[in-house]
Symmetry: C2
DNA sequence: TCTAGATGGTAGACAGTGTCAACCGTAGGG
DNA sequence: CCCTACGGTTGACACTGTCTACCATCTAGA
């Protein structure tokens, strides 16, 4: 029985790794099970990835890639402020539509960056999209001199977005007892708060 | 040689589990290594915890306990707004001083809540502290009817705080290339933004 | 054309893991 | 005085990541 040919195996391994994580959680990701599912020997993956961490890194890299594509596919706004809002929406939309991918990128203890160039590169690209959009705003210093186009507000915006996305898919919301509807209203409120803070 | 006696072993197990996580990461937490370190057989832990997940849950429960204590030890403010600010500072302070504990509470795939009552209880208590403080604010609806003391702004505040704490200890800051100083300024700016948004 | 090496697959072995089962000494209550 | 529960023990099992060794096939160079 012919197994997947040549290079195909490498991408098939990553596909299958993601599937396993989806089904049984990242903790349960097992090199041997991936091989088993693909009908291949337990050592075959080693020809393509030097260790289990490396295949995880490849999965995460693909998540960042998918994230970047999603951000780039957002509708463009007419003004910088408008476009920033669109990116914020796209950001949250991605986290909502692909919670696993989002968690893998942000809420998973990643193997050391230095050892995984591809993952690093993909994350850098994704973050550059965020950064460029944030810096395009001419953010004035609240209660200080206006026209201070520094990136300090980027942290504020990014924190609010990431915090929301992260809390929404944690158990926290359930534990404090916020209903679905309340969360939806809270989200919209957050966006209004952001707009008000940045667009005096 | 007499090993730790009786009940002491149970708490010693949790202590040692935390130490192991500290040294080698949560992934490497091993039932057998804990036992080995305590000079006890590899099955002894099973007399106190039915599974590896349960000892992890106990560690996390202790983190929440520690978190609650930290929040309660904050300096009290004179006004609700002031006290909320103090809690926000305490929140971030805890995340900064105990990054591992914070990560264990928020950024770790936890075993199903239902199976771990103690952990659930501790998290509920900690979150109730946050909730009570947030609800004590009489938050007006921005651009809507004033005096709308709902909890929708709680999500905004909590998101900003959690997002900041979470991003700060991830690799993200390093990847986008924000220096320590820029992060400090960004943090302060975030607080000012929060104040401005909530205290028109 | 022969041959050397790289590439991508195989099987086997080893240490380490979580967990199940069986055993065993001691303390305390009927 | 026995019995039971508790807190510990050892042994075994299946599973994991990873090391080593082997093998087939393609590809380049002589």
């Amino acid at each position: 029985m012919p197994q997947k040919k040549a290079d195909n195996l490498k991408t098939a391994l990553v596909d299958e790794a993601f599937a396993v994580i989806e089904e049984k959680g990242v903790e349960q990701l097992s090199f041997r099970e991936i091989a088993r599912r693909l009908g291949v020997s337990h050592q075959a993956p080693y020809k393509h990835f030097p260790s289990r961490d490396h295949i995880l890194a490849a999965v995460v890299a693909r998540c960042f890639e998918s994230f970047s594509e999603h951000l780039n596919a957002r509708p463009r706004g007419n003004t910088p402020a408008d476009d920033l809002r669109n990116m914020g929406l796209a950001y949250l939309d991605f986290a909502k539509e692909h919670p696993l991918k989002y968690r893998l990128m942000f809420n998973t203890p990643l193997p050391p960056l230095k050892d995984h160039a591809e993952m690093l590169a993909q994350s850098q690209y994704a973050f550059s999209l965020l950064r460029d959009r944030l810096l395009s705003m001419d953010l004035s210093d609240p209660g200080g001199s206006p026209r201070d186009p520094e990136k300090h507000d980027a942290i504020f915006i990014w924190s609010a977005l990431h915090g929301l996305a992260s809390l929404m898919q944690s158990d926290a919301m359930e534990i404090v007892g916020l209903s679905e509807e309340e969360r939806a209203i809270g989200t919209e409120r957050l966006f209004r708060r952001l707009s008000l803070a940045l667009d005096p």
